[in-house]
Amino acid sequence: MSDVVEKTLSALPGLFDNVTQTGAAKITSGLKQLIRSITELTSKHEEEKLMKQELSAMKEQVSSPNTSMKQMREVMVRAMYCEMLGYDASFTYIHAIKLAQQGSVLEKRVGYLAVSLFLTEGHELLLLLVNTVLKDLQSTNLIEVCMALTVVAQVFPKDMIPAVLPLVEDKLSHPKEIIRRKAVLALYKFYLIAPNQVQHIHAKFRKALCDKDPGVMTSSLHIYLQLIRESPDGYKDLTGSFVAIMKQVVGGKLPMDFYYHNVPAPWLQIQLLRILSLLGREDQSTSEQMYEVLDESLRRAEMNHNITYAILYECVKAIYTIHPKAELLEKAARCIGNFVLSPKINLKYLGLKALTYVVQHDAKLALQHQMTIIECLDHSDFTIKRETLELLFRITNAQNVTVIVEKMLDFLRGCGDEHTVIHLVGKVAELAEKFAPDNSWFIQTMSDVFSIGGDSLQQDVPNNFLRLLAEGSECKEEDDELRLFAVDSYLTVLKGDASHLPQHFLQVMSWVLGEYSHLQECVDQREVIRLLAKLLDQRSVSSETRVWILSALTKISEGQTDLILELAESLSSSQDTVLRQQAQELRHLSRDSQLQECVLPRGAPWDSMEVDSSLSFLDGFVSEALAAGAAPYKPPHQRQEELSEERALNLEPYSFSLPVSLSSCSITDRQSPPLLSVSSGLSGNSTELSQKEGSSTLILEGVRRVWGKDGYLPQKETAATAPPVDEPSIAVHPSGQQEVAERIETQPEPSTRNQDKQQLASSLFVGLGTQSSISLLGKSEAPPPRFRKKPRPHESSSSSSGTSERSSDSSSRSSRTTTDSFLYGSLLEEEPVTSTSTTTNGLSQNKHTEGDRRANTSQILGSDMVIVRPNTIQDRHPPSASSDLTALLPSEIKDLPHSDVISLTSDPSLSLASCRMFRDEALLLVIFICNCTDTVIKDVAVQLTCEELETASLRGNVVDCLEGKSTSVCHYALLMDEPHTNVSFTGTVSYQTQPGHTNTLPFSGTLSTVDFIRPLVVTTEEYGKLWLSLSHDVKQNLKLLTDAGGDPLKTTLNALKDALQLHVVDIIGSEGIVACRLLSGAPCLLHCRVNGSALAMWLRSPHPSLPDCILYHCQRALAEH
């Protein structure tokens, strides 16, 4: 292909004249001169000089009134050059917009191009573009319409979408395919940045999918891929269409210009295959529809060209993603063989990548290619090696873990790329934790991890390791044995040269020694103290590590007063104030053994420790400071926001300024709660602590506390769930070997192998082929991790630290959890009704929620229904006849908060009423079916449909026989995956009054997002952490409720809480933070601040449209108040 670009830089001088002659008319002197100068650059310094010159020349030119549009176009291209080389040319931005507005076609296009290159989403100048776009969209010149649509699909201000949306929608039915195509792409952009705005045009997307032009259809696939990724269930009905399109494409029905190297629209095929695999995943009937076309796709792609392999790769992935079909799997596996064995290195890479994907479903495939894998492991190409390790990581089990980890560590030792190291070291730690064959191996491997990982290691690796040591497992002897190993191993390390060790490793070692060195009786504590003290003298040790070391020393100082005092003495003149303080504490504690025992009890389990994460013990201090005139605390993001507000024009009347005060400094930790700062809350008892604050301010930063005042907590897990370490894998060991041997025999080219490789193979791939039945969907059951972490009661319900709980079983994950449910990923059980008792079981948070809800009073919501949340159901006097019906509720859901009963429909024989019940994990829609006649009604069947909602379970929707004047209850557990402001449901009830004579009665109703919102109970600290991790945000000013004479913020928040089931996390001064979640999981955090007479609301969520929805309901609730 080198003939495509033949002329190289070496031929430059001679070429200049040619080019300038042929393109002379178009290229003006300024640009020509610039390009010439750029090609002649020899140093960075020259470049800077040139750019400075160029920028000032351009500045002059743009501000001159004589500059024509044609010259302006040239200036824009020059500005593109400047920006491309990294020099800011922002003074030209406004002229780019002007050019787009005033230029004739080509100039206009360059103006738009410059806008799309220079301005990023959210740039304020973009607003100035809106009018130009509006004008061009209505132009009779197709080229202008085209370029307006192009720019809209690239950058457009989110808030102005409504202004152009109708025009863009109109273009969907334009006679020209290019306009329709670009309109679809513009709508896709709108969907990405503001999904709510285009919700109403889903039907038009379908029309675009069925467009007679293949280009328009192709564009619509982008939207569908996105939609289906978000909720595959909603688009299963389109499977047939996608299959039909795929068939036509593969069958060669497209015009010739859609072909690329004789392959019909390859990128379109790839897109379709991705869509199909999403649709067919975990869905047998849908998958069955696509087997044929996948088979054909595999068959057709026989041509030996890169692009056919790209399609094949996608095809293989699809086959292994959807519901399995043996015949196809076999073909796909053969296909992977072609990749992996290919002499072309790019294909080999893709083969490895495919294999990495596939072994998750069928580990046996790795066996077939074991020799290639081993060759790739020693490949000279870094990328290939790296991908091979990824593959090995996926097939690791308890038997091959030592070999694989060794390979990974070998690779890491010779790897200079920091990003790769961090990534892989984390994986090694994960494997070590999961499959470690014994204690000494585990400790040694972790030591390697710490020393190789260096200081760029992610903090959660040492954290997890220490937590594992501290929490222990079910058996105390085993735990102590592990800890002892660690102590011995670290003492050896420290006796050697410790100057080159990374800080993380030193921290881990000092913590372990501080905590557990007493377990090792044959080691003199004085020796340990000496070793640790030696570290303090080393210059390479960071001050953070020094804090860890001193904390460790504090813990083992007992009885060694002389050494400790000497040490404390030497540190008391340190430059570092924290160290000096710690030295003081050390001295104090070593003199008072009683205090020592009380502050640092030995061997107490750490989960009994309670942390006052809201720092309530500081409340007194804060209120005093506030009373003394200090400014209330503002979290950093808000300070930033205010700062940026200040930069813009201030249209509001002047308000108070923001002095930096003592109080705002002292509680900044609230916002950034990394693990270390947790230690500042020593115990749950805040009053006791605040007293302590005064007497001996003990700050032991950097040390995680693992003791509590209470004794060892009883184990919660029963013996039955304790994992038998690797018993099952040992049992299957011999057959695994045999399998390997068999495979080796069937290898086609025995001569190329040598014995070393075979040996390596048998150790790498041991245990892979042993499962008697291959579980095709999902990984075969992973052996239980060796180190089972103790369940932590606080985390089980609201853990936001997903890193600690690693699920080893990927097969149990349903498609729904792949969305945003990292917080509340729990799935509904088959019959969730029975689970109510377990969900409220013992979880203090649930009680809390319940309490919140009970405290609510009645609240009008929506126009059609009235929610009554009574104080307690038992106390309530039925206000109307219809609410008698609530007495009929099944006992297990009776006590849930619920709405009023409203009538749905009725006819002379049946009447239907419904009531919504708010369960923690679903909305229960209860339907009461009353027989109004005196005779028996038979075969009553209720059917409910709602496209936007998911029915998790239903009960009692079919009644064989309904006695006269009696009522039957059925209930649906409903979930909302995608937030919609309101959804309507329809349904029918069919029944027979006389045999063979079926009546049907339709009904309908509306549900609002509010029904699917639940309070999210988090602490301020968790809120802060979560806030930073969320990406989608929306800001808006809302009405502030000022009636009732109380604090307007509190009044407003309470009103919102009553209306929307929110959890008010905290109110600090003029700010409040509030949290809620959508049933299926996505949280939404609200940050409210009083801003003059308005409430500035800032919402964040992982879900793009959830903030919009919640904002809508907040507005409504406040408007109705």
Partner: protein
């Protein structure tokens, strides 16, 4: 998804850059230099894909010019590798035997071509006639 597309020559000078995800202007030059160094260091017999930070680079060399595309992990490397070639074929068709200088002197037009092919990091058109149609129409109008 495609994160960015670069055209860089052997000397490491950027001839075209297009980002589909916001990268600060000040950081681009250093980032580009770093990535190009990574690609240039690789030998001919090694594969055309390199890991860089948390994404993959797909690169393809045409004489002295490298085209480097940054993509996410879930993208199909080989299809991007061929997309690059399709792009070059389109350029070749428009400029009839494209050279580095064509690209330099017609930076705006190369961008216009690219805008037809990739939008928001997604491949939206690969049909050569359709990619060139708007640009040819513009040229015609400018002449007329």
């Amino acid at each position: 998804m495609i994160k960015f597309l670069l055209m860089v020559n052997k000397q490491g000078q950027t001839r075209l850059s297009k980002y589909y995800e916001q990268v600060e202007l000040g950081k681009r030059a250093a980032l580009e230099a770093d990535m190009v160094r990574g690609c240039l260091a690789r030998r001919k017999e090694e594969c055309s894909f390199v890991e860089y930070k948390d994404y993959k680079l797909v690169y393809r060399q045409y004489a002295a010019l490298f085209i480097v595309v940054g993509i996410t992990e879930n993208e199909n490397e080989l299809s991007i590798y061929e997309l690059v070639h399709n792009f070059v074929e389109v350029l070749d068709k428009y400029f009839s035997r494209v050279s580095e200088l064509d690209i330099m002197f017609n930076l705006d037009k190369v961008h216009i071509i690219l805008d037809e092919m990739i939008v928001n990091g997604h491949i939206v058109e690969t049909n050569k006639n359709r990619i060139l149609a708007p640009l040819l129409a513009l040229d015609k109008m400018a002449e007329g």
